[in-house]
Symmetry: C2
Subunit: 584 residues, 2 copies
C-alpha cells in the first residue's frame, strides 16, 4: 500500500508523552484520565461533551494534545500528513498535527509530544492526489478550483472559512441577542425589477413567465418595515449576472439590515457596534466611531468616493498658484467651467533628478512646494482640466502607492484597518449615455437630506441623499440609506425625476401608502469584508465553492448543457448562434 | 383627516401613570428617570443601550411600559390602533399596545397605565386599508398574500416570524458555540444533478448552458467533509420545482448538518441535543432521547413510515384468527405472497349498532375482540390482501382520527410534541414504473447497514440503509444518513444497482477517492418544524413572503413576462403553446 497520502483513523488507547526536558516530564506525571469506552468505536459522551470532539469517534482533535495529557488514552481521527520510516505518522486534521509513534522493538522518539499507537484502523485509501496538502505547495488557480475539496484542506483556507463562520455568528449575536433584530428569510425567486439587466432569469412552468434572482432583498426589507417587523436582518444570498468581471461572483452574500424609526446616525452606530463586537480578537480591537467624510471632501482630497485613508498623499488644488503663470494650457484648463489644476506629491517618487520647468517664477515654485509639502526626491504629479481630472489623479495616487510599495517603500501598514464613512452623496447623477437625464446615484428609494428636500421639486440634480457608504482600506464594503417612506415622494422620484414606469413598483408604492414608518438600513458585503480581514488577494479565498471569473464551477463543470426535452416543461428553447450570428 | 388606521409616531415627553388603585400609585411615586435628550428626535444612547429600542427614535416599545415607569418621560413610536373620542390613542407596535391620553381640559382616565401626550408627530398618513389589522378580522388567503406587508402586522404572524428567528438563533448557538460546527455557505447556482427533474434551470450567457438551483446542498456537504471541514452546518435555501403541490414552496429552508468520523447514534444525539437546546421555553422542555422505531415496526403497527404516535389505534394482524374461518376471499387474500388480514379498532367509531357477520365462529369472534381490544360502540376496520393494504389502513387510521376529533372525541393532545426516529429503512425500492429495477429509497449516497454490506453485491433489494427519519406528530421533519465514503462502493451503487451514468457524479467519486473520511449528516425542514411548533395550518404562515400554491407571488405578480430582447443575452426564446399544442 502506498502511503504518500492516505486517509486513516488511528485509534490509540495509550498515550505516552516524551519531553526533551525530563524535569517537565516528571512534574506532569499526574494527569486526568479520560474514561475509555470499550467495544470498538464509540462517540464520546454525547450529552455531556461539547466542543469539536463531541458526538464523534475521536476523543481529541490533532491540535489539542498538550503535555498535561501525559498518560491519557485518546482516540484521534485524521489524515496521514507524513509517514516517516514506517515508524512515525504525522496525523493531520483541521486543528493541527500530532505525531504518532508506531510501536517498534526499539526507537528513540523525539519532539515534545507523541502518541503511541496501540491500534490503527485505515478508514479509506487514497489515489495519488493532483497536489500535496502542504502549505508551501504552489498550485494554479484552475487546479485549486477543480479540486476545491483538496484545496480547502490547506491551513489558510481552513482558517478563512472558520473565521468567516465565527465572524457571522458574532454578528448574529449582536443583532439578535443584543439589539432585538429579527432574522427574516426573503425570497430569491422574485419579480424582475425595473432596469434589472443584471438579474438572472428563472423560467417557470407557465409559458413566457420568469422569476428573477434579485440583486438584494431591498424591496423585501422595506416591506418588512411596513409590516411592523421593526428591525430586520438577514445574511442574504444575492445574485448578479455581470459576465466576466474580475473578482466578482454571480452569487454573493450581504449582511442585510433594516430598522424602523431610525436616522442615519442610528444606522451608523449600529454598524460600528456590530463590527466592534464581531471583530476577530487577533486583529486587535476596533475604535469607534469611525472617521466620517463627505462625498465632496473625499472627491476633493482623494479623487475618489472610497478613499484609502491608510496613507496621506492627498490631492492639492494649486489652481491659484499656477493661474498667474504664463503657461497657456494651464490657464485655459482653469478657465473651463469647474476647471482646476491639481497636484499629487509622491514622496521619494522621483527616480531621475529633474528641475522644475523654468517657466515658473521663484515665488510660484516656493508656493507650490509649500502647498504640496514636496521635498527633494519627491515626485509632483499635476493635472489640469475640468473637475473629472480628480478621479484620474485619485487613481494615479493608488497606482503610485502600489509602485512605491513594490520598491520596498512602506506606505500602508499591512495590519491596519481604516474604516471610513462617506456621507452626503448626490442623490442623482447625469446618465452616462444621456447626460440631460438623471439616474439614481445608488437606488431610487434613498431619501433626500431633510434640508435638500424642497430641491426635489425644483433642482433635483442639487439634492444630496441620506446615503452613506462604509469604506475599509479603500474598498467599499457597505452602502446604506434612510429610505423614502412617503408614497407621494417615492412616486415623484420614480415618475418625474427618473422617468421610470411606476407600475412595476406598484406593490411598494401601495405599501408606503399603508402607513410606512420612517426607516433605513444598510447592507455589508460579507465576502469582501472577510477577504480584507484575512488579507486574501481575492474573494474566492473566503468562499467555499466560488465560480471562476467566467462564472464556471470548474469542479462540477457548471453551467452545463440541458436536453431540449428537459427545457420543454419550461417552454423555452435554446437559440444556437449561427455563423451569421444569433439564430432567429 | 380620517383616523380609522393611520400610521404615526407619538413623541411623548411626559408620562403620567394613573392607577385605579390609589394606594399602589403612592408606593410607586419613586421611579427611575430616563435622561431626556432635548433638541428633537435623538436615538437613545447608542453605545450603552441594547434591546429593541436601542439606536432608534423611541425610548420604549408599546408593550414595555409598566407601573414602575410612573413619572418617566418616554418616546413611543407606532401605529394608531384605535382613536377614541379624539381623547385616547391606542398605539400599536410589534410588542403590544399602549393607551395615550391626549391632554384635554377635563377627562377622567381609566386603565392601569396611560401615557399623557405632550407632543405628537404624525410621520405618515394612510389610505383606507383593504382590511383592518385586528386579530379577529378574517380575510381570504389571496388577500393576505396580496397585501402580505399588512398581513404580517397581525400578532400571530409577528409571533411566528419572531419565534422562527429565535429558534434558528438558538440552533446556531448550539451548533457553533457548543459543538464547534462551521457555518459554510454553499452555491445555489450549480450543475444539474442526474434525474433532477424537479430542479429549476437558470440560463447562463453561454448558449445552451444552464445552471441548476439544487434541491439541497447534499453534494457540497459531502465535499466539505472530504475537505476536512469536519463539522458543517448551514441554514440552507433549497429549491424544488414541483408545480402545484399543496403546502409546498418552490424555495424552502433546511437546517443542514454534516459531520466526519461519526456514526448514526452520534447524529441522532446531535439532533436531539439541538432541538432540546433550541426548543421554545413556552412549549415546555423536550425529553431526550426520542423514541426509536424500525421501518418494519412502523409499517406493521401504523401502516406508514412516519407514524403519528400521539395516539394509539395500531394496526393488528388478525390473519391467524380469520384463517380458519370459511370466508373465501379472506382465505384467498392470506394465501397470496405476503398476504395478510389486518384490523384497525376505531374506539367509539360505530355510529350504527351492527352485529358481526354470523359466519364467524364464537371463538374467532372472541379472539378478534381480544386481539384488537374492541369494545361495544367501537368500529373494527378490516383489510385483507397483500402487504400494501397496510398503507391503506394506515391512511384510514389518520382519517378516522380526524373524524373522531371533528365529532368532539379527543384523541391527540393538541399541545403534545411527539418526536420519533424511524430507522433501518430499505436502501433500495423497486421502481414504480419498472418494478424489476431498483431506485434509492432516499438518495444514492446512503451507506448500507454494516451487517447488510455484503448483500450489496448479492441481493441489493434486501439491504437496509443507515438512514434515519425524524418524525414529529406524524410529519417527516428530517432525514439523515451515514454516507458511503468509499469511491468503489459508491460507483457500484450508481453503476451496477441504480444503472445511472456515473460520469455525472465524477467529481464526487474523485473526491471520495481522495481520502474521504467516514461521515454522515441530516437535514431538518425548518419551515415544517416551525409550523408545527406554532400550530400553523400551513407552512405559508411561518414564511415571510411565501408563494401561492401555484408558485405565484401575489403581491408583486411574479413570475412575470420578460421581453424577447432581454432573453436574447441568455440565448433562449419562449416556445409559445399553439392550439395544436407546444410550438416547435
Amino acid at each position: 500500500m502506498k502511503f504518500t497520502v492516505i486517509s486513516c483513523c488511528c485509534v490509540i488507547t495509550r498515550l505516552i508523552l516524551f519531553h526533551s526536558c525530563i524535569d517537565i516530564c516528571r512534574t506532569l506525571s499526574l494527569v486526568l484520565v479520560i474514561s475509555w469506552v470499550s467495544g470498538g468505536f464509540r462517540y464520546f459522551n454525547s450529552v455531556l461533551m461539547s466542543g469539536p470532539s463531541s458526538l464523534s469517534l475521536r476523543s481529541h482533535t490533532c491540535g489539542e494534545l498538550r503535555s498535561h495529557h501525559l498518560g491519557d488514552k485518546v482516540t484521534l481521527c485524521g489524515w496521514v500528513q507524513y509517514l516517516r520510516q514506517d515508524l512515525f505518522i504525522i496525523l493531520r486534521d483541521f486543528s493541527g498535527l500530532t505525531q504518532i509513534l508506531i510501536p517498534q522493538e526499539e526507537g528513540m522518539p523525539t519532539g515534545e509530544i507523541e502518541v503511541l499507537a496501540e491500534d490503527v484502523e485505515v478508514f479509506n485509501v487514497c489515489r495519488q492526489l493532483p497536489f500535496e496538502i502542504k502549505d508551501f505547495i504552489r498550485k494554479s488557480e484552475s487546479l485549486r478550483m477543480q479540486y476545491r475539496y483538496l484545496d480547502l484542506r490547506s491551513s489558510q483556507m481552513q482558517k478563512n472559512l472558520r473565521l468567516r463562520s465565527k465572524l457571522v455568528m458574532k454578528m448574529r449575536e449582536y443583532l439578535c441577542n443584543v439589539h432585538g433584530f429579527v432574522d427574516v428569510e426573503t425570497p430569491t425567486l422574485f419579480k424582475r425589477t425595473p432596469g434589472g439587466a443584471k438579474e438572472f432569469v428563472v423560467p417557470s412552468r407557465e409559458p413566457g413567465r420568469f422569476y428573477s434572482l434579485p440583486q438584494s432583498p431591498q424591496q423585501f426589507k422595506q416591506l418588512l418595515m411596513v409590516a411592523g417587523i421593526d428591525r430586520y436582518f438577514q445574511i442574504a444570498r444575492c445574485y448578479r449576472d455581470e459576465g466576466s468581471k474580475p473578482d466578482r461572483q454571480p452569487e454573493f452574500t450581504q449582511v442585510d439590515m433594516e430598522m424602523s424609526f431610525v436616522d442615519q446616525a442610528g444606522i451608523m452606530s449600529l454598524v460600528e457596534g456590530l463590527l466592534q463586537y464581531a471583530w476577530p480578537a487577533e486583529n486587535g480591537s476596533l475604535k469607534v466611531p469611525f472617521q466620517t467624510m463627505t462625498y465632496e471632501e473625499a472627491m476633493r482630497d482623494y479623487g475618489v468616493d472610497k478613499p484609502d485613508t491608510r496613507f496621506s498623499m492627498k490631492l492639492v488644488d494649486i489652481s491659484e498658484v499656477l493661474l498667474s503663470s504664463e503657461i497657456e494650457f494651464l490657464q485655459s484648463a482653469v478657465s473651463q467651467p469647474g476647471g482646476s489644476i491639481q497636484a499629487l506629491n509622491v514622496p521619494r517618487g522621483a527616480v531621475r533628478k529633474e528641475t522644475f520647468p523654468v517657466l515658473l517664477s521663484v515665488s510660484a515654485t516656493e508656493e507650490l512646494l509649500k502647498r504640496t509639502g514636496a521635498k527633494p526626491g519627491d515626485l509632483l504629479l499635476i493635472t489640469a482640466g475640468p473637475l473629472h481630472t480628480r478621479p484620474l489623479l485619485g487613481s494615479l495616487r493608488l497606482q503610485c502607492a502600489q509602485l512605491l510599495e513594490s520598491c520596498g517603500i512602506s506606505l500602508r501598514n499591512p495590519s491596519a484597518f481604516h474604516f471610513l464613512w462617506v456621507v452626503d452623496f448626490p442623490l442623482f447623477l447625469p446618465k452616462e449615455d444621456e447626460p440631460g437625464q438623471l439616474e439614481s446615484a445608488h437606488h431610487p428609494f434613498t431619501a433626500p437630506l431633510p434640508e435638500d428636500k424642497q430641491l426635489l421639486y425644483t433642482e433635483p440634480h442639487k439634492v444630496r441623499g441620506q446615503h452613506f457608504d462604509l469604506i475599509l482600506n479603500g474598498c467599499e464594503i457597505g452602502g446604506g440609506s434612510i429610505r423614502i417612506h412617503k408614497a407621494s415622494e417615492q412616486l415623484h422620484v420614480l415618475k418625474n425625476i427618473l422617468k421610470e414606469d411606476p407600475s412595476l413598483l406598484s406593490h411598494l408604492l401601495e405599501a408606503l401608502d399603508s402607513g410606512a414608518p420612517p426607516h433605513g438600513g444598510i447592507a455589508l458585503g460579507l465576502d469582501r469584508l472577510v477577504s480584507i480581514i484575512v488579507r486574501a488577494s481575492s474573494i474566492r479565498d473566503v468562499i467555499a465553492f466560488p465560480k471562476s471569473f467566467r462564472g464556471h464551477d470548474l469542479m462540477s463543470r457548471a453551467p452545463d448543457l440541458v436536453s431540449d426535452e428537459e427545457l420543454k416543461s419550461y417552454h423555452i428553447s435554446v437559440r444556437w448562434p449561427t455563423e451569421e450570428g444569433e439564430m432567429k
